[in-house]
Amino acid sequence: MKRFLTGLIAAGVIAPAALAQDITLTMWTESSTAPEGVFAREFSEMDNGITIDVREVRFDDLVAETLRAFATRANPDIIAIDNPDHAAFAARGAFLDLTPYVEASDQIDMDNYFDGPRSSLSWDGGVFGIPRASNTIALYYNKDMFRAAGLDPDSPPQTWDALLEAARTLTDADNDVYGIAFSAKASEEGTFQFLPWLQMTGGSFEQVNGEGASDALDLWKTFFDEGLTSPDTLTRGQWDSTGTFNGGNAAMVISGPWELGRMAQDAQFDWGVTLLPTRGPDGPRASALGDFNLAIFANTEHPDAAFQFLEYADSQAERVWPEFTRMPSRKDIALAPTGNDKIDAAAPVFTEQLQYARNRGPHPEWPRISKAIQDAVQAALTGQKSSQEALDDAQSQIDRVLN
């Protein structure tokens, strides 16, 4: 056999380098056109002997698929995972602790990341990945409708009261216009959208029924009871809700930077973005933190090669805004102009909002906490429970998970 191989090498059939060090890594992600998918292709084309095979897994199936694969040791080397799901894997030792790698790295500096993303991938003193990008939510508003309703398009609502007042003024049932659109869906999206309001009252995912917490839910309930938002907000995600804003059927919408591309193209009106209104005039700010982290599985055979890819992804962080309309998770990177006025005007708003973005968790049983919150929101908004009752019930569920 050996002689046969030598013969092949001599004949130039097999390049010796290929025998010695070619490494193939697998990576799972929700989309090969997402930053890490594109970076993986570039990285594979480099002359470093490492190839990354990318498998696209639908977002809804990603965690279940990964669990099954991990249970049978058929998991990939690298995964891009939604940040609230990160802790479940990190806490169980499924992901590689990158602390020694990061310390030795010239590229990755954990202090460069915003607090939210950094907290999402830390567990028990260890660092279990790097953020690929971040997003958060803010308030989009239709400036033309503001003008038509006699509101100042340059001073959008800054407090809850002002938001409610604006929603009342802007709602125009005869012309099928709701004051505000958002998502209170019974899914992670609902939690994502509701938590910031709760946090602005001083609450957190660990404490959902504290002083003033019910005000947050009552605010949402007022939107429903007074017909300021579509009843379908209960079963509609953020993307479809924002679709109604783009079509001129909602005057304001709460959503994230992923909407910018479609909105810039579709919206036939003047629009702007502002920070999420706070409870009081100088009230604490809060927002949601979204997007994915990159992690390496602890059982990979090639941790060094995998980390090399993470370094490459981090080195390309400047590109995630102009090329992918996602926000870099690094404080030291300013968003480069895209050439589109509206998007460029929105950029600083989202950058500021990202500073207030809080992570969901980290907690290995995040989905159960999230479910308790969704249930409370839905029960209160459908009138089955009062806001306080609903949040009290959620709290007892959450306590059971936390303790």
């Binding site: 696209e56 199936d61 698929e65 099954r68 109604t244 079509g247 579709d266 994915f292």
Partner: protein, 275 residues
């Protein structure tokens, strides 16, 4: 009312019913041509204001459509062959006899169909992975999907075999045919329309199957169109028009083939076979 007028009246009613029923299909085509936001317009746009025809060229170029369709075809064909190959014989026997044993088998077959694939896929994945079947992903998907479709097929074909007059089969046995001969020469041909309809329905199911294929086929290059379609769904961004265009591209030819074939099978063969 003269027969001609009666025919025309029936035709008119049939067209009206079909128009109502097919509205969601129409909505799929229309949506594929709309811009991202006009999908949500109030009042609904029944005709797209500015049809975005380039979505079709886009998905064809971008989404590896031919590869996905080929994989769907491979999986659907495999599922149909396995299901029909194994199921038809069992259905025949279950129609032929009447005993407690047969009842027990029939009962078991039905029972084994109870859980939705989303709940069956975990044990199947774990089992397949431990015996190494995951190294042959499309085969693994075919085997798993066939287990889901087979009870359905057996129950259907059993009903078809029941319509074959027993006397014909007994006559064949008297004429010197073996049991196997009677099955292949008499029962199978006479029940063929029921079997073919069943097989066609199974083919369609295999073609559009999602849950098992998504889990068992890790290699993107081997995945069917039902999975390719979901590549337009990201966590926050969903390209509905591309998804609808993708769905339209793979549903339309299948539906066309089906419309033609079912006509042959349901009416054509029946009258020929029994008369």
């Amino acid at each position: 009312m003269t027969p001609v007028w009666q025919d025309r009246l029936f035709l008119a009613i049939a067209l009206a019913l079909a128009a109502i029923y097919l509205f969601p299909l129409y909505w799929m085509y229309v949506t594929s041509l709309k811009t991202g936001s006009s999908i949500f317009a109030v009042p609904p746009e029944f005709l797209p204001g500015a049809p975005q025809w380039d979505v079709y060229t886009g998905i064809w170029a971008e989404a590896n459509m031919p590869r996905y369709l080929w994989n769907s075809l491979v999986i659907a064909t495999g599922v149909t062959l396995v299901t029909a190959g194994i199921g038809a014989g069992a259905a025949y026997v279950l129609a032929r006899y009447r005993s407690l044993w047969i009842d027990a088998v029939l009962f078991t077959v039905l029972m084994l169909q109870v859980l939705p694939p989303s709940l069956m896929v975990t044990p199947i994945f774990v089992g397949f992975s431990s015996v190494g079947l995951l190294d042959y992903p499309r085969l693994a998907a075919i085997l798993a999907i066939s287990a889901k479709t087979m009870p359905f097929f057996i129950i259907l074909c059993r009903a078809a075999f029941l319509t074959v007059p027993r006397e014909l089969e007994e006559a064949a046995l008297v004429d010197g045919n073996s049991r196997a001969g009677a099955f292949f020469m008499i029962a199978l041909p006479l029940a063929r329309n029921g079997i073919l309809v069943g097989a066609l329905l199974i083919f369609m199911q295999g073609f559009g199957e999602y849950v098992y294929s998504a889990s068992l086929i890790a290699d993107n290059r081997l995945q069917p169109a039902s999975i390719g379609m979901t590549n337009f769904m990201e966590p926050n961004v969903v390209n509905w028009n591309s998804i609808m265009a993708f769905a339209a591209t793979y549903v339309t030819p299948i539906l066309a083939v089906f419309v033609i074939l079912q006509r042959q099978i349901v009416s054509g063969l029946t009258s020929g076979a029994l008369k």
